[in-house]
Amino acid sequence: MNDLQDALTGALNAAAHEDEVHIERLLTNARTAGLRYRRRRRLVLAAGTALAALVPVLLVAAGLALYGGPGRPIEAVAGPSPAAPATRTPAAAPATPAAGDPGAAPQLPVLIGAAPAQKAVSTVGRGAFHVGVGELPFSVATMQWSSTAGLERVLVTPNLTPEPGRTDPTVVGRDPRVTIALARSTGGLTTLLGDKQPINIGTHRGQMVTQANTVPPLTIVRWQPGTGLWAEVSGEIDEKTAMTIATGVSFDRTYACVVPFELRPPPPTLAGKVSACSVAYAAGSWTGKFTYDYGTWTLDLARADEAGMDFKETIDGRPAWTDRAEGGGGPPTLRIQVSYGGNRVADVQATGKYESMTVTNFAIGYEMIDSPSPSDWWQVPTG
């Protein structure tokens, strides 16, 4: 072994042993999650069996309806095509506070409706955003909204070096980040361990758990803002901070997923849907990315800058870089980055059973939007 390898071994050992492992907590959590996983599998199996029994009946019914059987004519249901570019709706973008401004958190840039999340549970965690963040007891360094798989999360990083006179967050652990979540099930939320204190968030009853003696020392506030919805504030923060943040959260608006580029419509045979979106704010500027799900493969679409990129090939006359990964224990991936000049790069990654040509067509089909204001960006059509 040389010096580098010795240093590497030392660093890995130090990182692995940095914190104690709580075996009994691990065992309890693993058993609980295992039982839940088993129940879910049994339910899915039972549902599958029931569906299999119903299919012949449904086929007969459909046959009757189509070939002269009595009944209403079938009406086509027009829904938004995820592939087609959405109309840009003029929307006033809330003012973005300067980084470090205490109290006023950055707000999502494009408000598209006042539909309360409680009345549209099925749209939660499907690309658009429903979490409104009120006043925060600290200034904000970065904020990131993500919406996928029935779960919406807002990850807030406090500004840890506020200017004199501004508030420093009360962090009881080592990680200062706070997560605000809205979910259609508790599956993606934090496991509640320890004594639960009853609390009220507005008119909704909830629970607070403080795991002060565990690593990390988490505080979790959870409540149900509506039937079929769970909300949560969690972080290595004190109870007062957690309650202040939870009290300021609202779920009565819908915000668009926006990205600083638009797509040329993909081939009509591709019927994908937007399954994930993230919008992030850092140091006064915004960015966004999203994912199409095509059933057997997914496509992540983002915009990057050229910093650190080494374009070694050309695609459609533009400098480009591609990377394929197959094997290694996961599905195959293809990543393509294409430079559009002016420090603007299309960054796409396909995962699963993709066709290379289709992925390439997406990478060369970007229309960059140069406005720095996210209210001018493309509103990704989400379900």
């Binding site: 240093a7 990182a15 075996i23 065992l27 693993a30 992030a280 966004g288 997914t298 995962t351």
Partner: protein, 168 residues
Amino acid sequence: MEFDEYVRLRGASLVRLGRLLTGDQHLGEDLAQDVLARAFVRWKKIADVDSPEAYLRRMLVNAAISRSRLRSSSEIAIAAHPDRPIHGDLSHDAAERQAMWHLVRSLPPKQRAAVVLRFYEDLDDTTIATLLDCTAVTVRTQIKRALTTLRTRLDSMQPTGTGERGIG
């Protein structure tokens, strides 16, 4: 061996491996817990295989690589959260270890997994290849690339003209 007995005996090592594979203390614990939860459901079968340890390690490695891909689709890489101010100086060795760990975390998931399995778990190429579902040649290539990247980045971090010796 019963599930509880196994977790009490080997759970900590799985969590530590999870931390290194994900590059994050909390994610690593979540991942190990998730893998153990899935193992719990079919523990009788797993306990009967030759090496439950190798089986669970493979589950963990696969889960870590899959999760890194999943995270890339739902999270945007913005500046890492700032560290809390450190009161007092870290020793030189600790600071070097910390710098090295930060560089390891920046490696692509498969390179990081190969490096962790070689230099932390001390596994040979063939065993790593089985865990990563690739050939031993690919393992050697991944490790070589990772070491080259680490050396280049470490060299660029060394102050110039001070006469300090870089790690080589």
